[in-house]
């Protein structure tokens, strides 16, 4: 049987990619958890991260792993700028305003990027050898992406649970007014969380390039936004940890489903996988809006 072997290696890839999805969605969930704002322009920030990795590699031969801190700092700065210029005024605005504003920010970033970089597909290849594991062959770069994603998620977890600022952010997610009563400067938490959320998202764009080496384009974002929604809902909107685990599951699901649906004649496995994902999204939203992994 060829199929199971194929499935095993695809699932393995899915797990690696899923960890990157997880990091890519943590920012979305964090921003929703703290500010109650759905960032509809999410994908544009992933695109910025991907281009950061691309330009650092092609211009200065900086390997993508070293671009991670650069992307993080870039994203943090961008997050603060966007927060103080726009988001700050919209914190208690109805969804209508925040959805439209974040979408417009996304378009603006895409269009500026297109103006500067053009709309062609670009890519780079960073080759450091391949690992052979029985039926599975996997480039070291992808393993490295997995290790980095897990490390980032781990560090973030420690930061959220062990530091004062991290605890304060969790308090605001839990109960805004309560946190305020406890003397937490909620305004500062908003700006810091938004910046961290954007920083994480831009950073994840760097990791994404290790999986789509030639798929870097200014309009690559919306696809990740939609995946981000499915993953965020799966993990429980507003829970970054849930998002990381859900991203992992989504990676497994995506590649597994793609392989299995590919065996049915007369269908487009790629599109149908997405369809199944959105059906899941609806079911979870209706039956358990706190997410598969979330509690209350």
């Amino acid at each position: 049987m060829v199929v199971p072997e194929h499935l095993v290696s695809n699932l393995f890839y899915g797990a690696l990619l899923g960890s990157v999805y997880g990091v890519a969605t943590m920012g979305l969930s964090l921003i929703f958890g703290v500010l109650r704002i759905v960032n509809v322009g999410h994908g544009a920030f992933i695109m910025l991260g991907a281009f950061t990795a691309f330009w650092m590699f092609t211009l200065y031969s900086v390997i993508p792993i070293l671009s991670i801190p650069i992307a993080l700092i870039f994203g943090l700065a961008l997050g603060f700028v966007i927060f103080y210029s726009t988001i700050k005024r919209l914190i208690d605005a109805p969804e209508l305003s925040t959805l439209l504003a974040t979408f417009a920010i996304g378009i603006f970033i895409e269009e500026v990027a297109k103006f500067v970089w053009g709309s062609d597909y670009v890519g780079f290849s960073w080759n450091i050898g391949t690992l052979y594991l029985g039926p599975i062959t996997v480039p070291y770069t992808k393993l490295l992406a997995f290790v980095c994603s897990a490390a980032i998620a781990g560090l973030l977890y420690i930061w959220f649970t062990r530091t004062k600022l991290g605890t304060a952010i969790r308090a605001v997610v839990e109960d805004r007014e309560g946190a305020m009563v406890c003397g937490i400067n909620v305004g500062r938490i908003y700006s810091v969380s938004f910046a961290i959320g954007i920083g994480l998202t831009v950073l994840s764009g760097v990791l994404v390039t290790l999986f789509v080496p030639v798929g870097i384009n200014v309009y690559m974002g919306p696809d990740y936004t939609l995946k981000g929604f499915v993953i965020a809902v799966l993990g429980g909107l507003g829970s970054p940890w849930g998002a990381f685990i859900a991203g992992f599951l989504f990676g497994l699901f995506e590649n597994g489903s793609y392989t299995i649906l590919g065996m049915i004649p007369g269908v487009e496995p790629f599109a149908l996988t997405r369809f199944v994902a959105f059906v899941f999204l609806l079911i979870i939203l209706l039956l358990k809006p706190t997410g598969l992994l979330g509690g209350e």
Binding site: S97, F115, L226, L237, V267, P269, F270, P289
Partner: protein, 328 residues
């Protein structure tokens, strides 16, 4: 029927008359005006749901998409009946989008705020990928009807459909949606929806059947969306591609129009649609390729500075003046 309550339709009719007069008298203006009318219709239809209930349906374009497919299916299957295929298509378009709205409304309208927005994005994208995934209605290759229509209706008739009839129908749809809006505003339903928009739980406690009115507004809005899809897309463009008719950009454009003009007002979508259409049309003529770059900051500025929209501002200024009877 209290005719005085319908006075705000007078300024609207005046604007429509001016637009139609320009379109018919000035050479080369018919197409731009048709373009503006599409946006006015889109805003007017979406306003019935978004403006009146305050729920953000981020997958609204799915109703336009289904309407477009309804018309496409009718043209493909009933062309042996001749021109009758068009009214059949219109009925089918409304039926399909209303059915979808019933299904979505029954389940998704339990959710609120951001959860509702995400669920509706899911419906729209899910539908698109279903069409592409199981190669429904041509799948990614879409429906290309121009050759087929020329063969069955004749070249002249097809041209007449796509360059004149479709536009006239869009104008009629826009106006009908406006009439529906004011009819709702003047009835108990309008007041119930106002209460719902302000505070859903309080409205429920007061004994208002919020679910019923929400779904009614949703279905009405979706039906008009189906009509727009059938006329402004299938009949006018003579092709349907899933990635076009389920494109989230149209939902966002509709939100922009409603917000720009003033959500929940009667004249707002017309003003918003006109301004948005004019901006987009002339920006793409004068700055081709970078129109979105200019439009995006304008949008952000509007959201931050004028959340009530132009009509909200005008209404505030004209309160207690004799003019206020005509503005709503």
């Amino acid at each position: 029927m209290n005719l005085r309550a319908y006075k705000p339709l007078i300024p609207m009719m005046a604007v429509y008359a001016i637009l139609i007069a320009i379109a018919l008298s000035v050479e080369g203006m018919w197409q731009p005006v048709a373009y503006f009318m599409f946006y006015i219709a889109l805003g007017q239809a979406f306003n019935i749901f978004l403006g009146l209930t305050g729920y953000v349906d981020f997958g609204y374009v799915a109703f336009l998409g289904l309407g477009a497919y309804g018309m496409g299916i009718a043209i493909q299957n009933f062309s042996h009946l001749g021109v009758i295929a068009i009214p059949i298509g219109i009925v089918l378009a409304v039926m399909m989008s209303v059915l979808l709205s019933l299904a979505v409304g029954a389940v998704a309208l339990r959710l609120r705020g951001a959860y509702f927005a995400i669920a509706t994005i899911g419906v729209n994208e899910g539908f698109r990928y279903l069409v592409e995934g199981v190669r429904l209605w041509g799948g990614t290759e879409g429906m290309i009807l121009s050759g087929f229509m020329r063969k069955t209706f004749g070249r002249e008739m097809t041209n007449f459909f796509s360059t004149f009839l479709a536009d006239v129908l869009v104008i009629i749809v826009a106006f009908s949606a406006a009439v529906a809006t004011i009819a709702i505003l003047n009835r108990k339903m309008g007041y119930a929806l106002l209460a719902l928009r302000e505070d859903e739980d309080a409205a429920k406690v007061m004994g208002i059947n919020v679910t019923k009115y929400k779904i009614m507004a949703f279905i009405t809005s979706a039906g008009f969306a189906g009509l727009i899809g059938a006329t402004a897309w299938t009949l006018k463009l003579t092709y349907i591609f899933p990635e076009d008719v389920f494109n989230i950009h149209y939902t966002v454009e509709a939100i922009v129009i409603v917000m720009l003009g003033g959500a929940g007002t009667l004249l707002g979508p017309m003003i918003g649609g006109l301004i948005y259409g004019l901006m987009k049309y002339y920006l793409s003529v004068t700055f081709p390729g970078i129109q979105l770059l200019i439009l995006a900051p304008i949008l952000i500025a509007i959201v931050v500075a004028f959340p009530d929209g132009l009509m909200g501002y005008i209404k505030k200024k004209t309160r207690n003046s004799p003019l206020s009877e005509y503005l709503r």
